[in-house]
């Protein structure tokens, strides 16, 4: 990855309107060459539209799309070297599975030499559909169709791969395998991949960077860890993974206070936040600039991940009642009721009745301050 090179794909102030609806608004994004870039966001937030703008299926109402630093305005889809997998698969209904996959090869030679036929076989193997060459798409199950669409898009070895929820109909195992494959192919060939998914875990697992979109604009664009651990907004905090968001008034700010022996960030200030009648200690982010310093009287919104809550803790202790538990295999998600708020907790063996949970102030992350 060459960071000084121009971004592989860049959207600059792009807006796309459909009549009254604004699907994408003043969107600026840049995707680096060879990057695996993921768009997540609630339904209708403009993910598909963004991909369509990149693929030239739509023209921006305003703004510009650039590939490798050069404007591609007016360049038709077939000349953009993009591979696309649509949400509805868009398989060619009058072609067999094999013909679908081979279609893109009629415009270019298969990457890596070989014959078209070999390439088709190779790709169908990749998506676990060996021997299905001659089936008609409409005799396939939903997941099988989706895999054909994946194989078809990969066949010509595009420069940019646009994937619109390409695995929503697949089971976790297959999805993992495929995404690892996609990731591998992507790295091997250096394909820039822009991926839309509604599976946040998937977004975190595969991406170099993730853009969390909302109402046509990204709320945060960052590497997965940052998205998960330092969400920029409350929306991002709750949209990606479980989270407990609390807000209250800051009653005091103490600085350079060593919070806890497990905390290794000694330079952080601690705020005392009163949520309803309970006062909780929250570590403030160290790098917040001085002007934005939190002071008493501010309203602070912060979040604590469920897995950071510990049972029978003594700091920031909340006494709550277990309302339900969901067995998730690896852990159990426990729903607690704390003074009318829902608090989520992870546990291996779910407790029952009334429990006390607490968290290390350093595990709290501030998402808003007023």
């Amino acid at each position: 990855m060459n960071r000084t090179a121009p971004p592989a794909v860049e959207l600059d102030g792009v807006t796309r309107r459909y009549g009254e609806t604004t699907a994408v608004e003043d969107l600026s994004l840049s995707v680096r060459d060879g990057e695996f870039f993921t768009l997540v966001g609630p339904s209708g937030c403009g993910k598909t539209t963004t991909l369509r703008l990149i693929a030239a299926f739509e023209d921006p109402t305003q703004g510009e799309v650039r590939f490798g630093g050069e404007s591609v305005t007016g360049v038709p889809p077939e000349d953009r070297d993009v591979g696309v997998v649509f949400q509805n698969y868009a398989l060619f209904p009058h072609m067999t599975v094999g013909e679908n996959v081979a279609y893109g090869l009629s415009f270019s030679d298969p990457p890596g030499g070989g014959s078209d036929e070999a390439r088709v076989r190779e790709l169908l193997e990749l998506v676990d559909l060996d021997g299905m060459q001659d089936r008609d798409p409409d005799t396939l199950s939903g997941g099988q169709q989706q895999r054909v669409a994946m194989a078809r898009a990969l066949a010509p070895g595009p420069d940019v791969l646009l994937l619109d929820e390409p695995m929503s109909a697949l089971d976790a195992k297959l999805r993992e395998r495929l995404r690892v494959q996609v990731r591998e192919i992507q790295q091997e060939l250096g394909i820039t991949t822009i991926y839309v998914t509604h599976d946040q875990e998937e977004a975190l697992a595969v991406s170099d960077r993730v853009a969390v979109m909302r109402d046509g604009t990204p709320e945060q664009v960052a590497p997965p860890r940052t998205i998960y651990r330092e969400p920029a907004t409350e929306f991002v905090a709750t949209f990606v993974g479980d989270n407990n968001v609390l807000s209250g008034e800051v009653t005091a700010v103490r600085s350079t206070d060593r919070v806890d022996d497990s905390s290794d960030e000694s330079g952080r200030s601690i705020a005392d936040v009163t949520v309803d009648s309970t006062t909780l200690s929250v570590a403030l982010d160290g790098d917040s600039d001085p002007e934005a310093a939190v002071s008493a009287g501010d309203r602070l919104t912060f979040c604590v991940r469920p897995e950071r809550l510990t049972l029978d803790a003594d700091r920031n202790a909340l006494t709550a009642t277990v309302t339900s538990a969901e067995f998730l295999g690896e852990t159990t998600r426990v729903h607690l009721d704390w003074e009318g708020r829902e608090i989520l907790l992870r546990a291996e063996d779910p407790p029952t009745g009334t429990v006390t949970v607490g968290f290390d102030p350093a595990d709290a992350h501030t998402v808003d301050r007023q």
Partner: protein, 617 residues
């Protein structure tokens, strides 16, 4: 919710006692359900009965003559036709026992004989190709471009369908004749004269006049249901717009284009008045001979010839249906291709070229479709001293002072509309039921489908005679003769003639409906008939309307059955009035023709409006 026991479905499962329905309500529901449950079967039985009574039986009374001569079963009539080079051309010599090699050689030679049947097929094939060639650009225009009046234009494309051949003859002579508009224009442009009339070309163009709109309508519908994302995917895989069209769009249009082509072939294969009016006897088709033989009471040969004609048409339809079954794609048409404005957004070659093509097409269409119709209108307004309303005055006079046994223009209009609406009301359920039956999966369903299409393919002359024998004369039951005629019989005959169009338009629609919708309805307790009525039909409403328009058009244009079945002049329709008003001057007939044009145009606009925003076809 009152559910307190283990599962169990009423009527089938066991053990369920838990529904809160009172016994009487339950019974009411059961009675209604029983009716609904039997609705499809009932309608199917009624349809079959109607078809048997109004079509198959009457037609059989004629066809039987081909094998039952003087009370004895014989195949000799067929043999003699099939051995007759006059009918079958060179292949007849095969049946006459000549060596295959010699026959093939002569078939390949330049002065081969096609025979009447061969020639009929040849001109039908030419007509089909021309109709497709003239229909596809129209489909392109209607499906892919947005412009004011698009919907009206689409509604009116069905008009040629209802025009009596005499009107078309008048229009064509006035347009393509020696002194016609075309030559006037060519002359004004300093180009040479063309002599189109009384050639095969004239006949073929007239056939295209009738059938290209049909091709255009069905193709437009298919084009509108192509999913844009398939095209986009092809583009992203590297296909240019032209390749994407060829590889992705075109294959999804083939079934419809072929359907238009198959129907065109079937219609033009049994063409009759148009060939003789615009071509001449040297271009005589099979139907001309069927007519002559029946007129001369040579029933055996006539029936055999008509049966051969039918066999060829049905064979073709069957082949088409087999193809359709294999190639119709369940369109996931989620997002149709967007229409483009007719005015080019930019002046690039890419934008200009197709529009330029359409402009050229528009000139051709103007000559082929608009000019003949305009000529008819002009003819109705012309007299010996130039423009006049005398012909319309004639209609008014005939209405006010005509004798009771003469055709009255207003009565004809009223009857046409009445029969049109009534036969529509019969043809729709018939067509829908047959469409449902033929879209189910079972062996030989395409055969059933083809047989159900027979009303399209049987010689009109045979149908007329059959109705006379089978219905008007009736059958002896005990002492009384059961005969059928009059308005109800006309309506039934029109419905039988029109329902195949409902089938052909609705069946692909039904096949394309997401089956989970129907399954959801059934899981919610809807019997099959209700699911059809509540879910499928509303969803394929545009196709239903399209079929309705065709069925209505067929009824409006129908001639031979109507005149046989009408019990008096007071049951005559517009085409009969036109025929009656033909005299030494064609003015009165063309005036009546214009009335027909106006009445049917208005009807079609109305029918299409009922179809909501997106009327397919």
């Amino acid at each position: 919710m009152a559910r307190d026991s283990d599962g169990g479905a009423d009527g089938g499962g066991g053990g369920s006692t838990g529904t809160a329905n009172s016994p009487s309500r339950e019974r009411g529901r059961t009675v209604r359900n029983t009716i609904e449950r039997r609705a499809i079967v009932g309608l199917a039985v009624a349809t079959i009965a109607l078809l048997l009574g109004i079509f198959y039986y009457p037609v059989a009374t004629v066809f039987i003559d081909s094998v039952l001569v003087d009370g004895r079963l014989t195949g000799r009539v067929f043999v003699s036709i099939l051995r007759d080079p006059f009918y079958l051309g060179e292949p007849a010599r095969l049946l006459a026992g000549e060596p295959v090699g010699a026959v093939i050689e002569s078939v390949l030679s330049s002065d081969r004989r096609l025979g009447v049947i061969g020639f009929t097929a040849y001109q039908a094939a030419l007509s089909t190709v021309t109709s497709v060639a003239l229909g596809l650009p129209a489909a392109y225009l209607l499906a892919r471009f947005e412009f004011p009046g698009r919907r009206t234009l689409r509604s009116l494309t069905i008009l040629p369908f209802v025009l009596p051949s005499i009107m078309v003859g008048v229009g064509f002579v006035a347009t393509f004749g020696r002194n016609g508009t075309l030559n006037a224009v060519l002359g004004a442009l300093g180009l040479g004269q063309v002599n189109l009339l009384f050639t095969l070309e004239a006949v073929v163009i007239a056939h295209a006049f009738y059938n290209a709109p049909l091709v255009a309508r069905v193709t437009t519908a298919a084009w509108e249901s192509v999913d844009a994302s398939a095209v986009e995917t092809a583009r992203s895989l590297g296909a240019s717009p032209v390749r994407a069209f060829r590889d992705v769009v075109a294959p999804q249009l083939y079934p419809s284009v072929l359907m238009g082509a198959a129907l065109t072939f079937v219609f033009t294969f049994s063409t009759f008045p148009i060939v003789l009016a615009l071509g001449g006897f040297q271009l005589a088709t099979v139907e001309v001979f069927v007519y002559r033989l029946i007129r001369d009471l040579e029933y055996a040969e006539a029936a055999a010839l008509a049966l051969i004609e039918l066999g060829i048409s049905l064979g073709l339809l069957y082949a088409y249906l087999r193809y359709e079954a294999k190639h119709t794609v369940r369109s996931r048409g989620i997002r149709p291709l967007p229409r483009r404005p007719l005015t080019p957004p930019s002046f690039s070659v890419r934008e200009l070229l197709p529009r330029l093509g359409l402009a050229v097409y528009a000139v051709v269409a103007l000559a082929v479709f608009v000019a003949p119709i305009a000529s008819m209108v002009l003819a109705s307004l012309s007299g010996p001293e130039g423009l006049t309303l005398a012909n319309y005055q004639f209609l008014i006079d005939r209405q006010t002072t005509g004798a009771a046994f003469q055709v009255q223009p207003w009565d004809a209009v009223r009857n046409s509309l009445l029969f049109g609406v009534a036969s529509l009301a019969v043809a729709l359920p018939m067509g829908v039921v047959v469409a449902v039956l033929t879209t189910r999966d079972y062996r030989g369903r395409k055969l059933v489908d083809a047989v159900a299409m027979a009303p399209l393919a049987v010689s009109g002359i045979v149908v007329g005679l059959g109705l006379l024998r089978g219905l008007v004369f009736g059958v002896e039951v005990g002492d009384t003769r059961l005969a059928v005629g009059g308005g109800l019989a006309i309506v039934a005959a029109h419905a039988v003639a029109g329902y195949p169009f409902v089938v052909r338009t609705v069946a692909p629609g039904l096949e394309g409906v997401d089956h989970t919708l129907v399954e959801s309805a059934r899981a919610l307790g809807a019997p099959r008939a209700r699911a059809l009525l509540d879910i499928e039909l509303p969803l394929v409403w545009p196709a239903v309307i399209a079929g309705a328009a065709f069925a209505f058009a067929i009824s409006i244009g129908e001639f031979s059955a109507t005149i046989v079945l009408a019990s008096g002049t007071n049951q005559f329709t517009m085409p009969i009035a036109i025929e009656r008003f033909i005299g030494r001057r064609l003015g009165p007939a063309t005036a009546m023709g214009v009335v027909l044009l106006v009445v049917t145009s208005a009807s079609f606009l109305l029918i299409d409006r009922l179809g909501g925003d997106d009327v397919g076809f």
